[in-house]
């Protein structure tokens, strides 16, 4: 028996169906173009009807995204996309909702909504374009800018400790965290598909180059010459290896991750840390790689750090409504209007 026979036949969509007739107005060379192309590219593969998709954004360069996707969409106010999406998903679980946000929108003005959306675990996809700068307001430091960054509002260097998005997400009980980057479209595509597949809030941090205000921040992870030494691509069930010809690996020294040379005969591939995306402690340690504070220089991980299954908020909400209705029955309006205690005046 072929079960797929019962599925509705979907119209065959192409990326062109998701590209509206609007001019895209990001700066030339902006990393957002690459992300837009990948998103438009995967949408026909997601098995949904075009009208079921909704993009919600806040404010910032990234938040113009909904205008460039020919789906339903709302370009809202600064930091609030997650809160708006929460209400939409709670009331319309049938919709396939994507939030596009940036480091300032999600982690500064919208920080509160982000952490609560993550812990509540609506089935949403959050794409956070991290360029470590405020672009739309023309170049102030952001909550992910590194200490010392010279910007218009920090002429003598930023003194703020930045957020580490992966640590923040895990601390907020996120059920899915992944990192990708604008200059690796193939990887991004794979991560976007996995994020969509995940049932729950998928939080994807995408390193995105701002050519105008923070050019080249992430180039060491994508450019020839540095990429292999500085980037670590995570693969489920595989050991953590990187470097030219995969000559290096990560192993645990106690709880401390250390870089080992696989060519010096002291360590073999069997000694290495094996990636397990369901392991919260390992995910937390992977998140800390970006901090570079434990004395060792570690490569920057890309891929799915953490992904677990947990009931979504809207499922639990619907389940509760069904259970209470089963137990108490649906009251009719006249019963609600009268309440339990009435009296008659003749």
């Amino acid at each position: 028996m072929n079960e797929t026979n019962n599925l509705p036949v979907l119209e065959k969509l192409t990326y062109k169906d998701f590209a509206p007739d609007q001019d895209v107005k990001w700066c030339p060379g902006c990393g957002d173009y690459s992300i837009l192309k990948q998103v438009q590219g995967i949408f026909p593969e997601l098995g949904k009807k075009k009208e079921e998709f909704v993009f919600i954004s806040g404010i910032g360069c990234s938040s113009r995204f909904p205008y460039y996707m020919d789906t339903y969409g709302m370009h809202s106010i600064h930091g609030r996309a997650t809160a708006i999406a929460a209400g939409l998903k709670a009331s319309r679980p049938d919709l396939d909702i994507w939030i596009v946000t940036g480091d300032g929108d999600a982690m500064s003005i919208g920080g509160n909504h982000l952490i609560h959306t993550l812990r509540k675990n609506f089935n949403l996809n959050i794409l956070m374009f991290n360029n470590e700068i405020y672009g739309l307001t023309k170049g102030q430091y952001s909550p992910t800018s590194h200490v010392g960054l010279v910007t218009k509002s920090t002429p003598f260097g930023s003194i703020d400790e930045p957020f580490n998005p992966a640590e923040l997400a895990l601390g907020a009980k996120s059920t899915f965290f992944a990192r990708s980057l604008d200059r690796d479209p193939k990887h991004m595509k794979e991560i976007l598909l996995k994020a969509h597949e995940h049932k729950g809030t998928s939080f994807v941090e995408i390193y995105q180059n701002c050519p105008v205000f923070n050019d080249g921040t992430f180039f060491i992870y994508s450019e020839k010459g540095t990429k292999k030494e500085e980037s670590l691509y995570l693969e489920e069930g595989k050991p953590l290896i990187f470097g030219e010809n995969n000559c290096k690996g990560i192993k645990f020294d106690g709880f401390k991750p250390v870089v080992v040379d696989l060519t010096d005969g002291k360590n073999s591939i069997n000694d290495l840390w094996v990636h397990d995306k369901k392991d919260r402690i390992k995910a937390t340690i992977l998140a800390s790689f970006a901090n570079g504070s434990n004395g060792t220089h570690l490569p920057r991980p890309f891929g799915i750090f953490y992904s677990i299954d947990k009931p979504t908020y809207e499922e639990t909400m619907m389940h509760q409504i069904e259970e209470v209705t089963k137990k108490k029955g649906k009251p009719n309006l006249d019963e609600i209007l009268s309440g339990d205690k009435t009296w008659v005046i003749a």
Binding site: A86, L95, L333, T342
Partner: protein
């Protein structure tokens, strides 16, 4: 009139229950109220409690009061002064005696007047008001309610603490005896409330009966009262608080419109009861969402509205301030959204549990940009139902957020309500479009109908995919536009849409009196009962005065200006520093006079009468 058996027949009586926050005065008062209403008397109540959940016991700051005015005539206010004061401790007496009528009755719990309580109430050393001459103008009953309750319940096996807590039921029993009311309503209530712990139910019922028996057998009370049922219009009634009426109105509007109800809210006094009440209605399909903050509360409601729900957010002043930015978004998106502000004393945290009407100008003008919104104000607990129902109808039919103003006084106050049936409720015309509306077969999300209303589309509708947002949009297409004349056009269109609502609301009419009177009192919101009582009393005293009460604060009823022009004297009493009066003067250029009180308390009838007389006598 005192009859032979010492029973006085009265038209109306005001009772004030006053005690420590932990003494259960709110429950005692509401049970007394519900019983009284159930027995066919008209009622109005005024619960008043401290912001602290458990302020230091025994202190004046910790006093919690519940005032109920009931009678055989129509009752519109909780009463200026009380006939009976129940004072559970020295602080309650000290705090509330000021408004007891001369010759009024005081029932005290003597256990609350020991040296510790007297000290906490800040009586001077050695002074006990129950033992000196200070209360000689009143009829004072000294009863050791605490020890009588403990004695009556000693066989129940309850702990000392539980026994102590039952004393409010003993008080209720005494009051039922004094006012000749059956305890049956409360006994039913207790049986339901404690259905899982029958021993507590029995103890509380025993405490009530002991209170009644105490009145009956000791004969210490010289006075009993008889209040006949009120000649209210025939029909079926229930008791209702303002917040409860709001919850029911929202469910009703959801059912009648066929739109699922979504409430995004964040707890805040005195609005939280709406969230509590709606949360109980999961089995009606109601989705309540307790958001992480006030901003997320309104934003989640905007999201749900975009998805096709009847969306609501509830709050009070400080929360309203936080929602303001998102309210601007909802206005420019042109989505339905009901925003309910249960006003309290401000600014900032202000007086969280006290009433005030000070957010009208915020509702009118408190957003950046040109951002007009319809505003409705409820005038009594049961009027909250009609007002909120109408707000739901307007928001859905006119595609604009609507602000509803209530306040702490009517939110917690209760009155009898001749509730409607579902058939009595006006239709709510909710339309979703699923067809392109342009001649070229495309969809124009901001193409308006003759009332300037744009079409509503549910995401998921095939072929109508489009984007909306907070940026200014080109007329009809909704595309981003920074074109100068387009912006002016869009501002004017959004204004015209709100103004047009004046065609869909009733004209202003006189609540009391006519346009031939010498003075008009123009009111809004919770001052209704007090103004009405003051005006009726003055008319019966031979004065020619009238009263109009506004529900529609924006737009105003179309005939309002014309009515106001006919008066030489217009008095606008408000529980604020003069807000409606500014709008009225600005819009109609009439020389209205204000009466303002900003004490966290409603007006008394006397205050309004005196001001009217002052104006009339100046002539």
């Amino acid at each position: 009139m005192k009859t032979e058996d010492g029973v006085i027949e009265k038209e109306s009586v005001v009772v004030r229950f006053s005690g420590d926050s932990g003494d259960g005065m709110q429950l005692t008062g509401s049970q007394f109220t519900d019983t009284t209403a159930f027995l066919g008397k008209d009622i109005s109540t005024f619960p008043e409690f401290p912001a602290e959940i458990r302020a230091p016991a025994g202190t004046i700051a910790g006093v919690s009061g519940f005032q109920v005015h009931f009678g055989s005539k129509e009752i519109f206010t909780a009463g200026d002064e009380y006939d009976v004061l129940v004072a559970m401790n020295a602080a309650a007496l000290k705090s509330d005696i000021g408004n007891l009528k001369k010759g009024g009755i005081i029932i005290t719990n003597t256990a609350g007047f020991d040296s510790k309580n007297l000290r906490l109430a800040e009586y001077p050393d050695g002074v006990n008001p129950l033992e000196d001459e200070s209360l000689s103008e009143y009829e004072v009953y000294k009863v050791n309610i605490t020890s009588l309750t403990k004695e009556a319940l000693k066989e129940t096996g309850l702990s000392n603490k539980e026994l102590e807590r039952s004393k409010n039921m003993f008080v209720l029993g005494m009051l039922y005896w004094i006012f000749d009311q059956s305890p049956d309503y409360t006994i039913n209530f207790i049986n339901e409330k404690f259905s899982k712990s029958p021993e507590l139910a029995q103890a509380n019922i025993l405490a009530i009966k002991s209170g009644i028996n105490f009145g009956e057998t000791t004969e210490i009370f010289n006075t009993r009262f008889k209040i006949n049922a009120s000649p209210q219009p025939p029909g079926t009634y229930r008791s209702i608080t303002g917040n409860n009426a709001i919850a029911i109105a929202l469910i009703s509007a959801s059912e009648i419109s066929g739109l699922p109800l979504f409430l995004g809210s964040y707890p805040i006094t005195p609005a939280s009861d709406i969230l509590h009440e709606l949360s109980k209605y999961k089995h009606s399909g109601v989705r309540t969402f307790q958001a992480e903050d006030e901003i997320a509360a309104i934003c989640s409601a905007i999201g749900a509205s975009y998805g096709g729900s009847l969306s609501v957010t509830t709050t009070s002043g400080p929360g309203m301030s936080l929602k303001t930015e998102a309210l601007g978004l909802a206005t420019i998106l042109e989505l339905p959204l009901v925003v309910i502000n249960i006003q309290r004393g401000g600014p900032s945290t202000g007086l969280p549990t006290k009433t005030e009407q000070s957010d009208l100008l915020q509702a009118m003008y408190g957003r950046h940009g040109e951002c007009p919104l319809p505003i409705l104000a409820a005038h009594s607990p049961s009027d909250c139902f009609d007002t909120v129902y109408e707000a739901c109808k307007l928001t859905v039919e006119h595609m604009t957020p609507v602000i509803v103003l209530s306040d702490g006084y009517i939110a917690n106050g209760s009155e009898p309500w001749k509730f409607p049936t579902s058939n009595d409720l006006p239709k709510i015309n909710s339309v979703f479009t699923d067809m392109p509306n342009a001649e070229d077969g495309t969809f124009l999300p901001y193409k308006r109908d003759e009332n300037f209303v744009r079409p509503r589309v549910k995401p998921g509708t095939k072929g109508l995919e489009h984007r909306i947002g907070g940026l200014e949009k080109a007329n009809e297409t909704g595309d981003i536009s920074y074109e100068p004349h387009n912006h002016e056009l869009m501002v004017n269109l959004r204004q015209a849409k709100v103004d047009k609502i004046a065609d869909f609301i009733p004209e202003a009419k006189f609540d009391t009196g006519s346009e031939d009177s010498e003075l008009l009192v123009l009111g809004w919101g919770s001052t209704y009962g007090t103004i009405k009582t003051a005006v009726l009393e003055l008319i019966s005293e031979g004065y020619n005065v009238s009263h109009i009460h506004l529900r529609h604060m924006n737009p105003f009823p179309k005939n309002l200006g014309m009515l106001l022009m006919k008066f030489k004297n217009i008095l606008i009493p408000e529980i604020n520093n003069g807000q409606l009066i500014k709008i009225i003067r600005d819009k109609y250029l009439v020389p209205a006079i204000g009466l303002n009180k900003i004490q966290g308390l409603p007006f008394t009838t006397a205050e309004i009468k005196n001001k009217i007389l002052e104006i009339l006598n100046k002539k």
